[in-house]
Symmetry: C2
């Protein structure tokens, strides 16, 4: 039985990058850039009007200007501006030659079809200079950047419609256990519906990973081995659930070994989720998750997500938030660190010095009691060795 | 020019639910449940062993028990337990008749093929009673629940593989402006690539909405009208960008009116994003966003996201987080509330009483300067009337 921190380090040591792939621009959300991006244009690409107004030469002291041209955005000006002249110009349009200032409509006294009269001409140029935001050839996005909407805008601006990003792992999900039937079936006597696989598919989707579901392997060595082999052939990460505790029928570990999987650990000092197996075959990661859904949910968040993040080159965010415990908590067994479901009560106080939320431990019957998790917003961490926590104690809570 | 709060209220008054649709279980993430879900089973469905061990009658004081049956998970036991008898039972398996307790393997002194000898038999039953988590017929998920992985597990458990959820809006994105070329093209003189549409598609994807992109309408009444009509025919929400400021060529508003769109406002007292038009046609919402990408990003987050959330029945989370300003800030014009890009410096201090992050205002040239937003983690809010903010002031920051 190894400690959670050691288990995570062991997993992370085996979670390696998977190379790169090209994706289309609208599909870049959350992906990690695998190349440096340089701009092929100046931004702005030309001296550009920041206003609707009249383009003039800033040194021209005239009070009246003759309008020589209309310049909407997207048009290349034909006329240069001489003393006493101006061009009507729109926001975003190219400044004509000879002009270096735009007079706002608000600073004109009179506008006729071919002339303007200026009041208090301000010093402000109202011009965005060519290249003032980005110079042609400049590095604008570094390899390793996690892509958000603003990065998509920059990629579009420099013409990157196909973007090289790190490859996401292919994940295969497989449940084991003769007591399981598919969710679409009515369970007979002694049976329950398989909920772990649906949940894992949704947990994976939350990380933008479409996984493949291989079905339920009943507790039979040959059947289980066949499905695990099939999974291993397709997956970078194989997620099994069930069949990993100490019972005689829990032979998933044996099947894994017979498939050439090297087992790195088979128990973690954590609650829920103790009977968690981790193995590798070449670069492939194999997680034998417990059978109970609460354990699956927690172990996936704590151990599988960081592996996925490291494979794609994302940082896993620190997710423990300090909160105030709303009522006394105690437990009998303190040998393992434990995650216990809580309801988060937001601090109504908008004062910065006291913006700590509170957490209320929920009624919880154990790792099969998934209904409790639908009432929960988080799980609180109780460290190893701690049996009692007093109301008001500051605890660490992880959102779920 | 209306105030941001009033603008948002006006939008929310028009953002109505769109009815419901059925989705498959693995696609329920983030969707809002449109029906109450009741359980068609007891959970556990039978008195169930919570351990691998030996099922006995708790009143039986014997020290040695004859093993009468093996009960793996999923099997219906055939034998009842009499005095001096037990069945070998696996975690999750059904308790046999006559048994109400499971002795853990750890509490046996000796196990042979047909007999066990018990040491200190604990009081603990190690049995999960039928229906103790959920009773058959019980309401387990309420209409309006936002679906997460744990809810997917419960839906699977009760056999709900097709789930009725609120319908998401159909969104159509259209850019206007003769200065724009598609991102795949090299812009000629006076032109720039269209970055707003790519960014909006990614912003929508962040909210799990696949939108349709209709292209670029050049500044021509007939062309623009044709595309807007096409968009209105398909969309619940039509997102236009560009063509909404005061210039002569900004006729999007006029085109909208000619398409029967009722304009509710055409300017918001906000920076960036003042020239934002909002209109409706029947139940359809039309946003005429500004042309500059920083404005589009901000206005989408502040005004379009809450509309989408309300249409699908989700709560928009309060996203302003108090942070400490890292350097003096000033601005010339305080007539509008402003959102200004900042870099967030996480508080290294894990002490609860002082876990306030800091925010550093970035170099920012205005609403065309999207490159600045790729350096930013958030935008800080500067309220109307405020010209100066001293280093150390507590400001509100919105993550972007």
């Amino acid at each position: 039985m190894i400690k959670p921190k050691k288990a995570l380090n062991m997993i992370l040591k085996k979670a390696n990058p998977l190379g790169t792939e090209l994706v289309e621009l609208p599909n870049t959300l959350g992906r990690v850039l695998a190349e440096n991006i340089y701009s092929d244009v100046n931004l702005p690409p030309f001296d550009r009007s920041a206003m609707d107004g009249f383009a003039v030469n800033s040194k021209d002291g005239s009070k009246t200007f003759l309008i020589v041209e209309d310049i909407p955005a997207g048009k290349v000006p034909k006329k240069s501006i001489k003393i006493g002249q101006c061009s009507r110009i729109m926001t975003g349009a190219m400044l004509p030659k000879g002009a270096d200032q735009v007079i706002m409509v608000e600073h004109t006294l009179q506008i006729t079809s071919n002339k303007i009269q200026v009041t208090n001409k301000s010093q402000k140029s109202n011009v965005s200079k060519r290249g003032e935001d980005v110079k042609k050839g400049q590095l604008i996005l570094k390899k390793g950047t996690k892509l958000r909407p603003q990065e998509a805008a920059m990629l579009a601006t420099v013409g990157k419609t196909l973007v090289r990003v790190t490859r996401k792992p292919k994940v295969v999900v497989l449940s084991t256990g003769s007591e399981l039937v598919e969710p679409s079936k009515k369970p007979g006597s002694g049976k329950i519906r398989n909920s772990n696989s649906s949940m894992l598919l949704v947990q994976l989707k939350k990380r933008d990973i479409d996984a493949k579901y291989l079905g339920i392997a009943r507790d039979n060595f040959a059947v289980t081995k066949k499905l695990i082999k099939k999974g291993l052939a397709q997956a970078d990460i194989l997620l099994l659930s069930g069949g990993v505790s100490v019972g005689d029928y829990d032979f998933v570990r044996e099947v894994l070994k017979s498939c050439g999987v090297k087992i790195h650990f088979n128990k973690i000092a954590i609650k829920p989720g103790k009977p968690t197996v981790f193995g590798t075959k070449g670069k492939k990661l194999i997680f034998g998750l417990p059978g109970n859904p609460v354990s699956v949910l927690v172990i996936f968040e704590l151990f599988v997500v960081p592996a996925i993040d490291q494979m794609v080159g994302r940082k896993t965010k620190e997710k423990l938030v300090p909160m105030k415990l709303l009522k006394d908590f105690q437990r009998r067994d303190s040998k393992r660190e434990q995650y216990f479901p809580v309801k988060i009560m937001m601090s109504g106080n908008r004062d910065v010095q006291s913006q700590v939320s509170s957490a209320l431990p929920l009624e919880f019957h154990g790792s099969a009691h998934m209904q409790a998790l639908t009432q929960a917003d988080g799980v609180m961490l109780i460290k190893r060795g701690i049996k009692k926590l007093k109301e008001g104690t500051i605890i660490n809570v992880r959102s779920i």
